[in-house]
């Protein structure tokens, strides 16, 4: 390849050899298939531990890697182990990073641009940890009805970890934020293969950047960030979708105006007001903070439960951009039972919930759990459909059969 960039010639030359060997994805990766239950399909995906440092993960894409956690990962606790956290890269990711050579350039609207080593980042301020949910903006896209194109995630493009690093504002202070600063933009080591294609760069408003819990993190559950999760450093914005948590952080750029780059101005956007699937021209806003969500993890759709016996249901919930306030079990004919909440690991963490149905008298049709956060946001009954399938937070329902 000329300079790593893609031309028609290298592209065809590169593909030729591989085309001769085309074994089945599932066979090649070993493991087995899992059914994501996407309406209308295709729904089967390989489930395999074939990726470095990962346990059994659903393979949405080998290259660049898109790995989803099977829902069974969320059956216990609130922390998602590193080997089961979802993986999401937009463009090819570097597969090796030399720590001593890595620099983070801090520039743009700053008093004096700096280029920081990892040790300089680590000594930029107090070391802090925050437990926060990392969720892809497109989590659950594959369940959209009507369906939309994009990565066809089930609900496993999420996880909750303890992130450790320094505050972004302390790193910014090394360069000194200049007057007129409006946003802070991040870029990682992952770059497009083609000239002129948009690099995956993302920015957040200044007031978010200066928050006490917005980090430049190197630790994930008390381990160094794995490469697949953005070694050596990634941005952590608790309460905001993962798209802002830029991985393999290499550049921090202070902007004085709006960000017109592709992944902020053109992509990762949702309708400003609800739309129907037929609507074409509508205003959009950037997707930012997360809404509340809840999941039943003790049972799956179609499971059989004992008739005449009590039933304990369990799961996880999140408040999104604000702490979880409550979780209710809801079902047909006005069924609504408040659930009890487990230990609180902070406003941006998963929280476990539990509820006991005193006696199962028949099938439990279309039951779900509905989370509300302290800001008053409540999960809706029906999907706020949008053409990119972002920010799904409709109440997820299952049916249990009594026998």
């Amino acid at each position: 390849m000329d300079g790593g960039k893609l031309t028609r010639r290298t592209l065809i030359a590169g593909a030729g050899g591989a085309a001769l060997t085309a074994p089945v994805l599932g066979q090649k990766l070993a493991g087995h298939l899992i059914d994501l239950g996407l309406p209308g399909g295709p729904s089967l995906r390989p489930l395999t531990p074939a990726f470095p440092g990962k346990g059994e993960m659903i393979v949405q894409r080998i290259r660049p890697p898109l790995l989803e956690a099977p829902m069974s990962v969320f059956r216990e606790g609130v922390i998602t182990p590193n080997d089961r956290m979802f993986v999401r890269w937009n463009w090819d990711m570097p597969t090796s990073v030399k720590a001593a050579d890595h620099r983070v350039a801090v520039g743009g609207a700053v008093k004096h641009a700096v280029s920081l080593t990892l040790d300089e980042i680590a000594s930029a301020g107090e070391h802090v940890s925050v437990v926060a949910i990392n969720q892809c903006a497109g989590n659950g896209r594959g369940l959209s009805d009507p369906r939309v194109t994009g990565t066809q995630w089930g609900n496993g493009a999420m996880g909750c970890a303890k992130w450790t690093g320094v505050r972004l504002k302390d790193v910014l202070a090394k360069a000194g934020v200049a007057d007129g600063a409006a946003r802070v933009r991040f870029a990682g080591l992952d770059v497009p293969l083609t000239d002129g294609a948009p690099q995956f760069i993302k920015s957040i408003p200044m007031d978010i950047a200066m928050r006490d819990d917005v980090l430049v993190a190197w630790g994930m559950n008390d381990e160094p960030l794995p490469l697949l999760h953005g070694f050596p450093l990634r941005i952590v914005v608790p309460g905001w979708f993962s798209t802002y948590w830029v991985k393999m952080l290499a550049t921090i750029e202070v902007l004085t105006g709006e960000d017109d780059s592709y992944y902020v101005a053109k992509s990762y956007r949702v309708p400003a007001a609800p739309i129907t699937p037929d609507e074409k021209d509508f205003e959009t806003v950037a997707i930012t903070a997360m809404p509340p969500r809840a999941f039943i993890t003790s049972h799956a759709d179609g499971d059989v439960v004992a008739k005449g016996k009590p039933l304990v249901l369990e799961g996880i919930a999140m408040g999104g951009e604000a702490a979880l306030a409550k979780v209710d079990l809801v079902g047909e004919r006005g069924l609504e039972i408040p659930c009890s909440l487990g230990p609180d690991e902070g406003p941006f963490a998963f929280r476990r919930w539990q509820v006991t149905i005193p006696e199962v008298t028949g099938n439990l049709a279309q039951i779900g759990v509905r989370a509300a956060n302290v800001n008053g946001a409540v999960q809706p009954e029906s999907l706020a459909w949008n053409p990119s399938g972002y920010a799904r937070n409709v109440i997820e329902r299952i049916t249990l059969r009594a026998q």
Binding site: P64, L118, H127, A365
Partner: protein, 130 residues
């Protein structure tokens, strides 16, 4: 080393009082091979030649069934936004191929659905509620 852990439920940020040293070692991984697995239908070579440099075939194969026009738009998006170097002559073959693959997938899905419903009544049959 003494550390503040998450003892207090309300504690959002835990500061480590003894400034634990962050140490950074080099990191490197090997990703699994991408077998470029695509169904054997006419146009497969055009798809392999034009559409697999930036991403695995699963990117195309996992999509829900969409119209021919939508596939034309997808290819145009790859060219216009992501600067995919696509041979213009190959575009109709790529679109034909994707439409044919999705027709096969839909037929397979139909097969699965009818097999499932021919068995015992699904969870939605005869419900009574709690």
């Amino acid at each position: 080393m003494k550390r503040l852990a998450f003892i207090l439920p309300a504690l959002l940020l835990a500061s480590c009082d003894s400034a634990p040293q962050a140490t950074f070692a080099d990191a490197s991984i090997t990703l699994p091979d991408d077998p470029l697995d695509l169904p054997d239908l006419p146009g497969r070579d055009a798809v392999i030649g034009n559409c697999t440099a930036c991403h695995s075939p699963s990117t195309m194969l996992q999509q829900p069934k969409v119209s021919r026009e939508k596939w034309e738009k997808q290819v145009a998006k790859m060219i216009e936004i992501y600067k995919a170097p696509v041979d213009p002559a190959a575009i109709p073959q790529i679109v034909d191929y994707m439409v044919a693959v999705q027709a096969e997938q839909a037929a397979a899905e139909q097969g699965n659905v009818s097999r499932e419903t021919s068995g015992q009544a699904g969870p939605k049959g005869g419900l009574e509620g709690v």
